[in-house]
Symmetry: C2
Subunit: 199 residues, 2 copies
DNA sequence: CCTACCGATCGGTAGG
DNA sequence: CCTACCGATCGGTAGG
């Protein structure tokens, strides 16, 4: 079983062991889910024994929590960039662009965050929920603002916001990175959201 | 712990014990995920002992598989209804309408199907995958057809199809049933897809 | 549908 | 980072 002991990414000095564990965990939790992934299997993939995991993380849940919070922060940074734009059209455009970028640059971690955060217990659960709800609220506020200013057509802003966010997150499930460039994809999505699909 | 023994739905003769188990399983798997839901806990919710579950289902996996295949069939029936429409505009409209209906009438089961089907092993896994890929392919074909006939603007049909489907499935995560009527929601979604959000 | 029970595996600790 | 080990819980079976 030598093959199984080979880490996905060799520790070349640039990636710490702790980061290596996180990377393997993301890959594993994406494939099998957090609940059915054992600390033993994770350790084996990294090439160490199970108890050694606990010299880097206090518990199994701490591994998941680091993945979730790191991703949430990445999403939030993207949105902050969008909020610096002046008109709402550009705010929404950049918000969508940034969200796509984060999802596609962290495809596995993004799925893990959205699917597995429910397994966090307090205080992680509560803190994470606050962060993600804040993100969704701010995203929705851009839509609301645009409607008030007449940039967007009047519609239920909550519906619009949720529709956009769930379709963006869906990208992680079906998008093949080599199909076309990021720029093209962003253009495609914007076209659909802005002009619809009917001639 | 008497409270825990009370079934969510009393067996009144209209719902068989097997159906009761399935209903509790859907609720449980939606909340905690399939992998971290034990047969023991499920039995307790139904009000029987764990081994009694196995007089209704061959294994834990058979419970999940029945949930998944039932839902897949429901989605497929909706799409077949849509395909009977004559022009592609109506085909897409009905396909979206039916998908929304299925998601909202089976909100928990719909989430369970999409999140947990990956835990199925063969032959379940393969068979289910075939069904769901077929569904997605047929949905995409409506888009392709509409573009060929000039009803829809030329865009990557795969992108359009996946964007729509993931936003529809997202409904199960955020939609509160009492907010507004199904008709209104369908109208809202159609407006966004067809006309976009920009004035 | 129950009681009694099995081997396997789990997250995690002690101690070095 | 390791070996040795713990109590708890898992899916499932035997036999009635």
């Amino acid at each position: 079983m030598e093959v199984l002991k080979t880490p996905r990414k060799v520790n070349n000095g640039l990636v710490s062991r702790k980061e290596l564990i996180l990377e393997e965990a993301v890959h594993m939790y994406r494939e099998r889910g957090y609940a059915s992934s054992s600390v033993r299997d994770l350790a084996q993939k990294v090439g160490i024994e199970a108890p050694s995991i606990y010299s880097h993380f206090k518990s199994k849940e701490h591994i998941l929590s680091q993945i979730c919070f790191k991703m949430a922060e990445t999403f939030i940074k993207g949105l902050e960039k969008a909020e610096k734009e002046k008109n709402t059209n550009n705010k929404l455009r950049v918000a969508i662009q940034e969200h796509i970028r984060v999802v596609l640059h962290h495809k596995e971690a993004s799925v893990v965050m959205w699917n597995e955060w429910k397994f966090l217990t307090n205080p992680f659960h509560q803190d994470f929920q606050k962060m993600i709800r804040d993100y969704e609220r701010k995203f929705e506020n851009i839509i609301k603002e645009g409607m008030k200013q007449g940039d967007f057509r009047m519609q239920n802003p909550n519906t619009v916001s949720n529709l956009i966010l769930s379709s963006l997150n869906g990208l992680a499930h079906w998008y093949k990175n080599d199909e076309r460039s990021l720029k093209e994809l962003e253009q495609e999505f914007s076209e659909i959201y802005l002009k619809g699909i009917v001639n």
